[in-house]
Amino acid sequence: MIRTVLAISACKLTRLALRLLHRGGTALPGKVALRLCPDLLGRLGRDVQVLLVTGTNGKTTTARMLEQAFADAGLPCFANRSGSNLIQGITAEFAENATLTGRPKKKYAVIECDEAASKAVLGQLRPQVILVTNVFRDQLDRYGEITHTLESIYQGLSHVPEATLCLNADCSLTASLQRRLPNPVRFYGVNVPLYKDPVRELSDASHCLFCKTEYEYDLVTYGHLGSFRCPKCGYSRPLPQVAVTEVLEQTADGSRVRMLCDGAEALVHINLPAGYNIYNAVGAVAALTAMGFTLDAAVAAVGHFHCGFGRMEKFQLGSNPVRMILVKNPAGCNQVLNFLSSLDSPALFVICLNDNYADGTDVSWIYDVEFEKLLELGDRLTGVLVSGKRCWDMALRLKYAGIPKEKLQVIEDYDALIQAMARQSSPVIVMPTYTAMLDLRAKLSRVCGGKDFWE
């Protein structure tokens, strides 16, 4: 008990000190607290109902959708908002939500958890519902092989056999978890194509996880997602209980789709554009209904949530609308290109490539992204500005993609970059990697007027 009190106090004090220094750190307070009390997360999580999201892509956006439903229902809920999704950051959020004696102030939590951290986090937390979005190739310098990522998630989930799992039926890797775990499972998926003319991409999972035979597909939505089927051992896409059955409209601001949820049909507006957010929405609906929300409440939440923090976040730079879309890996980046090519309006494209630890130190993945797709935009592409620590690698990639020299400009300084964006007469799409997003977003927010990232 004394240790708990000490650890919570230390955590809160460290956090306060960082705030006073105008730093938004969430990892250090948690680290201090865990040093004092290694099982603090488990203690603090005991009386909190947790909905946890893990998987490679879509965690933050999905978590915002989930949080919206709790807010709409007036349920007191906290979340790890600032993308600090390792055990230190998650512990710090729980400590922040606790009284000094360890009692929770708010009864509900929406937690996003890094795939590699899920083993440690789920060793302590006992979520009611866990949503696994997908498993894609991601920063292999950190995670190793894609099957290792899946294995980390599996090991985490094996600690919590009572949690209801919401699994992406279209991801052969994610869906396979059901075969290995005793948990109650809800599958969700997309039954129809998401894009008219998607980029050609490599599959991150072309061969059967169980017998290594090449999968056959009735439908590929993007990447390796779709109606897969192993012709040899019969492993195939499970039938989803919650599914997108029709895409009615996709615009620059959102999508309208039809969903079928446990036999009930719903028209759903998704308050964020692009096909991959349709996946996030159907996953959120599956998780929320598993958590006990009504279908109507879940549909309302995905219809009016706001994401921010670099996920399709909008800024107004003078007369220019700017959309910032965080990219972390080839799959995510290819989906942004799909989104771009579906727009009718002209656009200036900005790419900021960093190679810090959180971005992945290996920038090779830019050659697995089909930037050649930008050529199809023709005159609608007014230019490409490149920045970030590895801007020259990015510029070279675009040269080999065939982007004309006169459309390509490297601007290393972010202030100069923002000025160049403001001078444009067309909407701007900014695609930064994680740490580039943090820096650029801070500067853009100052210019446009916005919140600090921990708020």
């Binding site: 092989e145 290594k212 290996d362 090779s364 690698d393 510029a395 070279l396 040269k399």
Partner: protein
Amino acid sequence: MELRICHLYPDVLNLYGDRGNIRCMVKRLEWRGLSAQVTELPIGETADFSQFDLFFIGGGQDFEQGVLLDDLRRSGKAASIRAAAADGKVFLAICGGYQMLGRSYTTWDGQGFDFIGAIDVHTQGGQQRMIGNYVFRCADESGGHEIVGFENHSGKTHLGSGVHPLGQVIRGYGNNGEDGTEGARWNNVFGTYSHGPVLPKNPGFCDMLLQTALDRKAPGWGILAPLEDTLENTAHANVAKFVLGTT
């Protein structure tokens, strides 16, 4: 003049932007008014290897290795690759593909696998990953260029007799982190741990491979014209600067 490029196993050996090497070779031929024909040979497909001038093999994940070894044996590709290498055809093999061209691989816990055996190198699995940006210099016989790249491997490769290192490590691990060598050169087979992909930022190395392939296809054909490589050289220098810590 047309170079025929064979991309071996693009379906499974494609881990780290390896396709970028193919794009780079094709573009640098096209910019000079030459052409390239790329044939992809995935698992289950075979072809007459004598028609190709240059072979590319990328890196992959362990998960697919079993499928690959099976296909190499069953489809007869292993024998075709050995024959093409002995015949002086140009090979660029990266990371897992480089290991695969070698004789054998022993995992860190002692399991042994026979690989293609096109070149006399052996790889011993390790438990520590050798990972990061690195710089090496090619031997004069392989063009003498300074190469910047990214390596990420746990296997330690040692060269047999008759196989020369592709170059010497300036900063990083290279073949095994011990003897300062990086990559392998035997006949016209070039193996390296530099994925990334290696060619766009190292245009001299790319042109040396193309020139070698052209010389073999049509002896006395001529010399590749220089290209405007400012962006390539800037990208190279930028990486070299932060890896070597000098200006």
